[in-house]
């Protein structure tokens, strides 16, 4: 018996088990549409990484199911399977399609191949995971592809990379079988959740809506390039470490790009938070006719008390609101605090965000603070209620190397806190305005290049010491969120999107 709901959300590594901007946004949407029922399908990597839900699920959430990709390859007993030529041909054909598939050029054969795959994978006569794992023809095919693409790589790496890639595909197809019935499916990223959405769109004949915050493919590329585990895989091969890692990286990047394309193909509409991300989606293969921008919204009323609680003089506290993970570049924040404390010895830096996602990185940041002599100046406060934090902050600083449209900045504006950010994502739009009417409001802070702690520090010191400028930024920020980032506008936009999608 499948559960039924109006909207089924497909969530990868976010709500409700991870606290952060994306999760808060999801929570807002659910609460903002109390007349619709929501079913949640959560996909995570390893169950070790997720504890209890971090959010109180609203009453209109009627279903929550969790799946972990680590289970994809587990529990399959080896057995002799004959993978006959006909079924293997369909796989070869599909892979050929993927290699030819680029841009949004329409290719009927490719489209037919993709449709066939999405509709039939794991169905009785089509390819199942046992065929892939143990099928006689699968080995020969793998061998062929290996000799074609990377014949000097350790075969063990290639073999397991393929398994790690394909396991989740079969697993997601299976999840799509038993996922809740909904009038519309909404995925919050491409990647695995996006693929699940593509399966559901094809199988259930319902619309798939895609809202992207960070661009998944871009973020995975950053992760892969930083990943030490790839280099650690085979320290004893004769090749140089960089060389042997490159082939594996290339495989994974191609894989995620394909997942992205498959999602863009199936989703309508494709929503980005700001123009820059929309451009990126188009470059990655999204159909321009389907894309649109719906900015984040912030509930100004929620932060009224925070605004009212502000002291007359700005506190000499620079806050970073965000999870302590490498993409937020908390180390640059710590270094920036070094510059701030040089100019303002009584200043403090607060990191307001969870440290449990990457404990090793969090420890490194603390160690860095200690090494720079900022052990007592920089405090790691963990996850806090920001509406209570903002009155105590003077300036919000975001040092991220990649962002979409940080909710933290909008919430800071609503609470009367100016912001200093790096020039990533939609930050410049938020601080300096987008449309002419928006820009006329002025600046609500400063934008500096990323990975430049000195510039960040200087900008923060400027704001904290020039009271006229500070007050102007406060006014601008507040006006901006009220006019252009209103919560109600975002909720209305999604209500319309859902209704339109349900009607199809």
């Amino acid at each position: 018996m499948r559960r039924r709901a109006d909207v089924c959300l497909l969530l990868e590594g976010t709500y409700p088990y991870v606290s952060g901007g994306v999760s808060s946004w999801v929570h807002q949407i659910i609460r903002g549409l109390p007349d619709l029922t929501f079913a949640l399908v959560f996909v995570g990597g390893s169950r070790r990484d997720y504890a209890a839900p971090k959010y109180q699920l609203p009453a209109n959430v009627v279903h929550l199911e969790t799946h972990y990709l680590e289970d994809a390859l587990r529990g399959h007993q080896p057995r002799r399977v004959r993978l006959d030529g006909a079924r293997l041909e369909s796989v070869r054909g599909f892979h050929g399609c993927l290699r030819r598939w680029s841009g949004t050029r329409f290719d009927a054969e490719v489209e037919a191949g993709l449709d066939a795959l999405l509709s039939t994978i794991s169905q009785p006569k089509a390819i199942g995971i046992d065929d892939f794992l143990f099928g006689s023809g699968a080995w020969e095919y793998m061998r062929e592809r290996y000799l074609d693409t990377c014949p000097s790589e350790p075969f063990l790496d290639y073999f397991w990379t393929l398994r790690l890639m394909h396991g989740p595909i079969f697993q997601l197809a299976k999840i799509a079988e038993s996922a809740p019935e909904a009038r519309v499916y909404h995925t919050i990223s491409t990647g695995y959740a996006g693929l699940l959405g593509a399966f559901l769109e094809r199988r259930r004949g319902r619309a798939l809506v895609l809202s992207e915050h960070g661009i998944y493919t871009k973020e995975r590329k950053i992760d892969l390039n930083q990943a030490e585990w790839i280099d650690a895989l085979r320290p004893r091969t004769q090749l140089g470490i960089e060389e042997s890692g490159d082939a594996t990286r290339a495989l994974w990047i191609a894989y995620y790009e394909a997942l992205g394309r498959l999602t863009y193909r199936s989703a309508n509409p494709i929503i980005a938070l700001y123009g820059g991300n929309r451009e990126r989606q188009l470059a990655d293969g999204a159909d321009p006719a389907r894309t649109r921008v719906v900015v984040n919204g912030v509930d100004v009323k929620r932060f009224e008390s925070a605004l009212a609680a502000r002291p007359a003089k700005p506190p000499r506290v620079v806050g970073l609101v965000g999870r302590v993970v490498p993409i937020k570049d908390v180390k640059t924040f710590v270094r920036a605090m070094g510059f701030v404390c040089e100019a303002l010895p009584d200043a403090e830096g607060w990191v307001v965000g969870g440290t449990d996602e990457e404990p090793a990185y969090a420890e490194e940041c603390q160690a860095l603070a200690n090494n720079l002599g900022l052990g007592d100046r920089v405090r790691f406060l963990g996850h806090q209620d920001v509406s209570k934090m903002f009155p105590q902050l003077g300036v919000l600083m975001l040092s991220s190397i990649s962002e979409a449209q940080p909710l933290a900045v909008l919430e800071a504006f609503a609470s009367g806190v100016p912001c200093v950010t790096t020039d990533v994502g939609a930050c410049r739009e938020q601080i300096e305005g987008l449309t002419p009417a928006d820009r006329a409001l002025g600046r609500a802070g400063s934008v500096v290049p990323f990975a430049d702690p000195a510039a960040l520090g200087r900008a923060a010191v400027e704001l904290l010491t020039q009271s006229a400028r500070y007050a102007a930024c406060q006014r601008t920020g507040l006006a901006r969120v009220q006019k252009f980032y209103a919560h109600a506008a975002m909720i209305d936009a999604y209500r319309n999107i859902y209704q339109h999608a349900m009607g199809q």
């Binding site: 080896p78 143990f134 699968a138 014949p151 350790p154 075969f155 063990l156 073999f159």
Partner: protein
């Protein structure tokens, strides 16, 4: 037996003929020494005992009893031997040395219980015999079964020299004690045999405890399904039965055998030629030790290490081909060696038989038996390689084939007359070997695929 093969090769000092002969001689001693020592001792006891015993009947009853004791003990313990040796090898490989000896005590416990059950049931069958004789027989069975386990333990510890030494010691005592007690008839002979076997057992135990003291307890890991492959038990059962099936068929047929002592029967026409023919496996076993347990084992390790360490596929395929070459070389060598042995027996067979006082009429049977045991050595080699490749299900089917075909064909040979005696075992062994070779070929073809894909 892999470790000793390597040290043997070092000792041989190269490829001179003298070196090769020395090498094969040592390999022969190690692989077949125990078996040869026991057979030759019993033959000597038989020959000399006739002078000293009150009647020649007594000597015959003694010999048949010993044969049946060997058969029973091997049939009882082969399943457990396979399981146990695999378990101990795993323990030693995984550096859990301290659990090895406790596992042995556990296995000995199991064996004793089994023997107790068998004796309880068999007691009635010896109704006509004295209590003393029954007790001696029961104790002999217990000691023999225990000895196999302890020998397996020593082999797993790579102490092959100690095994040969123990056998030499034990059977020297056997020889002396049996001849001394011969005047007391079969009871004296069996008591002497028991004494010698007890010395063998206790000496071996002493060596084990000195070399691998282990934790002071008993361990039962060899029955734990998560740590061992319990399908080794049916394999051992089928294989053990398969080897003895033809002898049992002859012994249980009224026309070709007669009752000798209690339920022990002997077949004059069948037994002795076969007994002698088993002496002829020595060259083949030496070749097996050198080729399979050494050359093949080495390449096997190289291959799997390369898989783990991330070799590229072409390199892995090349190593796989070398592996197949080693297996092929081993099989060819064994065939050649046994072929030469067979030719040798053809030429000197008559002389052999006359040394042991067997009539020329048994010559044809002797030839067939030599061919049959040669096939058995080859079969053993192929099965060993299949075990290396961990194809246990295939080995089970092969062992089952051996058991069924040996029984069926031997029964058929009884019906068709004396001309075909011995062909049952020979054809069964050959058929099973051919099937095993076919299975091995397929296994090698798929070894890379199975190594990567067939993992739980």
């Amino acid at each position: 037996m892999a470790g000793v093969g390597f040290s043997l090769r070092k000792l041989s000092g190269g490829t001179t003929y003298a070196g090769m002969i020395r090498l094969y001689a040592s390999a022969g001693v190690i692989s077949s020494g125990p078996w040869l020592i026991s057979i030759l001792t019993l033959v000597l006891v038989g020959a000399l005992g006739r002078e000293l015993a009150p009647s020649s009947d007594a000597v015959e009853r003694f010999q048949v009893s010993v044969t049946w004791l060997f058969a029973t003990s091997l049939l009882l313990t082969t399943p457990l031997q396979l399981l146990f040796t695999r378990h101990v090898s795993d323990l030693l490989y995984g550096e859990h040395d301290e659990l090895a000896t406790p596992s042995m005590w556990g296995a000995l416990c199991v064996v004793s219980v089994l023997v107790g059950i068998v004796c309880a049931f068999a007691w009635q069958l010896f109704g006509a015999e004295t209590l003393a004789l029954k007790l001696v027989l029961a104790t002999c069975l217990e000691v023999l079964c225990a000895t196999w386990i302890v020998i397996v333990m020593l082999t797993s510890l790579r102490e092959h020299g100690q095994v040969v030494l123990a056998f030499a010691l034990g059977y020297a005592v056997t020889l002396g004690a049996t001849l001394l007690l011969a005047p007391y008839g079969e009871l004296g002979l069996l008591s002497g045999f028991l004494l010698g076997q007890a010395v063998l057992l206790l000496w071996s135990l002493r060596v084990v405890v000195k070399l691998a003291p282990g934790a002071p307890s008993m361990a039962w890991g060899f029955f734990d399904p998560s740590r061992v492959h319990l399908d080794l038990l049916p394999i051992g059962l089928c294989y053990g039965f398969g080897i003895w099936a033809d002898k049992l068929v002859f012994w249980l047929d009224d026309e070709v055998s007669r009752q000798v002592l209690g339920p022990f029967r002997a077949s004059e026409v069948y037994d002795f030629p076969l007994f002698l023919a088993y002496l002829a496996i020595t060259p083949g076993m030496a070749a097996f030790l050198l080729q399979v347990e050494t050359d093949y084992a080495e390449r096997h390790t190289r291959f799997f290490k390369a898989v783990e360490e991330g070799g590229n596929l072409l390199k892995l395929e090349r190593l796989r081909d070398e592996l197949v070459d080693a297996a092929r070389a081993a099989i060819v060598t064994i065939l050649k060696v046994q072929g030469v042995t067979f030719a040798f027996c053809l030429v000197f067979g008559e002389t052999f038989l006359s040394w042991f006082g067997i009539s020329r009429l048994h010559l044809p049977l002797f030839y067939v038996d030599v061919a049959a045991v040669s096939m058995q050595v080859l079969m053993l080699s192929v099965i060993s390689i299949l075990f290396y490749l961990d194809r246990r299900t295939a080995v089970l089917w092969i062992a089952l084939l051996l058991a069924v075909s040996n029984t069926a064909l031997t029964l058929a040979s009884l019906r068709t007359g004396a001309l075909f005696y011995g062909y049952g075992f020979a054809i069964a062994a050959s058929l099973t070997t051919l099937v095993a070779l076919a299975v091995l070929t397929r296994a090698f073809r798929d070894v890379l695929r199975d190594t990567f894909m067939m993992q739980a």
